[in-house]
């Protein structure tokens, strides 16, 4: 299977939840210095539930499509549930195997989400990065 299949390209071309939020409770942004991909995620949290989510940034198909899929996944979930998401969950969403270089692209959004959700200093870090 090929990484340039319909579903990923759809997310890349017509991303879900693309944009920013005016007064987010959580907003975090990071880049991947190796390829310059950049993602920001804004969250509105009510009663510990993610009411609204937006992502913005630029980069390759994989990084942007993964961000789009991730925002669909976490909307309506509790922050605690969002914090539980792992690398494997992202790979399941993408649904195709990725080499080590593209894996970093795929995981950028998750990294941004977790660093934002935990607070940059409190985040225990992701294994296998």
């Amino acid at each position: 299977m090929n990484i340039y299949q319909e579903e990923l390209l759809d997310h890349y071309e017509n991303p879900s939840n693309y944009g920013t939020l005016p007064n987010p409770h959580i907003s975090h942004e990071e880049d991947n210095p190796l390829c310059g991909d950049r993602i920001r995620i804004d969250l509105i949290i009510e009663d510990d539930i993610i009411k609204e989510v937006r992502f913005s940034g630029h980069g390759c198909t994989i990084s942007q499509a993964a961000a789009s899929m991730l925002t669909e996944e976490i909307e309506g979930k509790t922050l605690a549930e969002a914090k539980q998401l792992t690398k494997d969950d992202i790979l399941d969403m993408i649904g195709i195997p990725l080499g080590p270089v593209r894996l970093k692209c795929a995981l950028l959004a998750l990294k941004v989400l977790k660093a934002g959700a935990y607070g940059i200093h409190a985040w225990p870090g992701e294994e296998d990065e």
């Binding site: 090929n2 990484i3 340039y4 390209l9 071309e13 190796l34 390829c35 310059g36 991909d37 980069g59 390759c60 198909t61 994989i62 270089v101 593209r102 692209c105």
Partner: protein, 414 residues
């Protein structure tokens, strides 16, 4: 030196030496500036070492160890001849270009660079010819100064005389840019550097594999390159240095092989080249490199250069036809076999990823040259780079792959 009679490359015969191309369709391998493929004669030479005379070198008092030593040293002679080093002992084996440059930065640098001294680099340097000098500058308080690049991707020569002063102790410069392919006029730079008394380190990782480099003609003080970019294995590189400099320099790594005698508190060191080759070296890899030198010289470096020029000119012609493409770097005749580009609206990773699905291997990224990326005002580029086994068909497939990438990624954006 007599000029060998020119005969064009027999690319078809060459390709038969590389089993990796025996697929349908064949791999279009266009990432040679990163690392080249290895021909059968090189692999067989290394196999012969492992199968028939595997042993350590220099000290064994038995037949196969003597043979290993002879083959290892024969490789050094071949490398010395390739670059026209006056003496074989001026060829130091290292792991790669990076280690060669670090050797100079630590050994020569720590003895000769002081606070307030200046080291002149260019902004097109590979990180391997930049970071060792940053570290040296941080250790010593020396200052780095940079020769800029023009919009055409050539060094801004007008700056050179202002940069070179009595403070300049070292000029470290790439012979050929790994991103732009630009062939730098290092001969003139070396002359200018010597007039202010500076030494010159040449990063020849992208030149020695592609055309004849003569260290005596260049009069460079140090020259570094890697085996794996010239049909050799990974794990073997070369540092050439002028004898008087190498003789005066302190050792880089300490250990076995590099000593004459050892007492509890002090040691005296071996002669060149052993002084800089501590520990058991990459024996098979050195032997492999020797055979790689044979391979590219038998193919003929002049013919190789002509072949790469043809591919490069053709690649420029074809790629320029693609709408929304930006090519970086100078015209083909001013560069070695590298073409860097970006396609409007498509991330370089996606370009490379789509080409990969068609069996075309190119590089996408910053190519370990971030200061140059910033100068070009890009995050990354796509790079195709050629070697002796590449064909016009490889270039055609690159062109077609790029057209497909464009179609795929811009299908609904109109």
């Amino acid at each position: 030196m007599h000029t060998p009679q020119f005969r064009p490359l027999d690319v078809e015969a060459i390709r038969e030496d590389f089993p990796i191309f025996a697929t349908t369709p064949p791999l279009a391998f266009l990432d040679n500036a990163a690392s080249t493929q290895t021909p059968r004669p090189v692999v067989e030479a290394m196999d012969a070492y492992y199968d028939t005379y595997r042993s350590n070198i220099h000290r064994g008092i038995y037949r196969i160890s003597e043979e290993a030593t002879e083959q290892h040293e024969l490789a050094r002679e071949k490398v010395a001849r390739l670059i026209n080093a006056p003496r074989t002992r001026q060829v130091i084996f290292t792991r790669n270009t990076t280690e060669s440059i670090n050797l100079v930065a630590y050994s020569w640098g720590s003895e000769n660079i002081r606070e307030g001294d200046e080291i002149v680099l260019t902004i097109m340097e590979h990180h391997s010819n930049l970071v060792p000098w940053q570290l040296l500058a941080q250790r010593t308080g020396a200052k780095l100064r940079f020769l800029e690049v023009t919009d055409e991707g050539l060094l801004d020569f007008t700056q050179l005389r202002d940069l070179l002063t009595e403070k300049t102790k070292l000029v470290a410069i790439g012979h050929v840019s790994n991103v732009l392919g630009s062939i730098n006029p290092i001969q003139s730079i070396i002359v200018e550097a010597h007039t202010v008394g500076a030494k010159v380190v040449v990063d020849a990782a992208q030149s020695v594999p592609h055309f004849q480099v003569d260290v005596q003609q260049l009069d460079c003080d140090f020259l570094a390159f890697s085996g794996h970019k010239m049909c050799g294995p990974t794990g073997i590189g070369v540092l050439y240095g002028k004898s008087e400099l190498l003789e005066e320099m302190p050792p880089f790594l300490g250990g076995g092989s590099m000593i004459r005698s050892v007492d509890r508190d002090v040691s005296s060191y071996a002669e060149l080249p052993a002084k800089f080759e501590a520990g058991t070296p990459s024996i098979a890899e050195a032997i492999g490199l020797g055979h790689a030198v044979d391979y590219i010289t038998q193919a003929n470096l002049a013919a190789l250069q002509v072949h790469e020029q043809e591919l490069l000119k053709y690649a420029h012609q074809r790629l320029e036809q693609i709408e929304g493409i930006t090519l970086y770097g100078p015209a083909p005749h001013q560069k070695a076999g590298v073409i860097s580009f970006n396609m409007e609206g498509i991330h370089p990773h996606d370009v490379a990823g789509i080409l990969d699905t068609h069996g075309i291997a190119v590089r996408a990224g910053h190519h370990c040259a971030q200061p140059l990326m910033k100068r070009l005002d890009v995050i990354a580029t796509v790079r195709a780079s050629f070697y002796l086994y590449n064909t016009i068909e490889d270039v055609d497939r690159l062109y077609e792959g790029l057209c497909r990438a464009q179609k795929l990624m811009t299908r609904r954006k109109a």
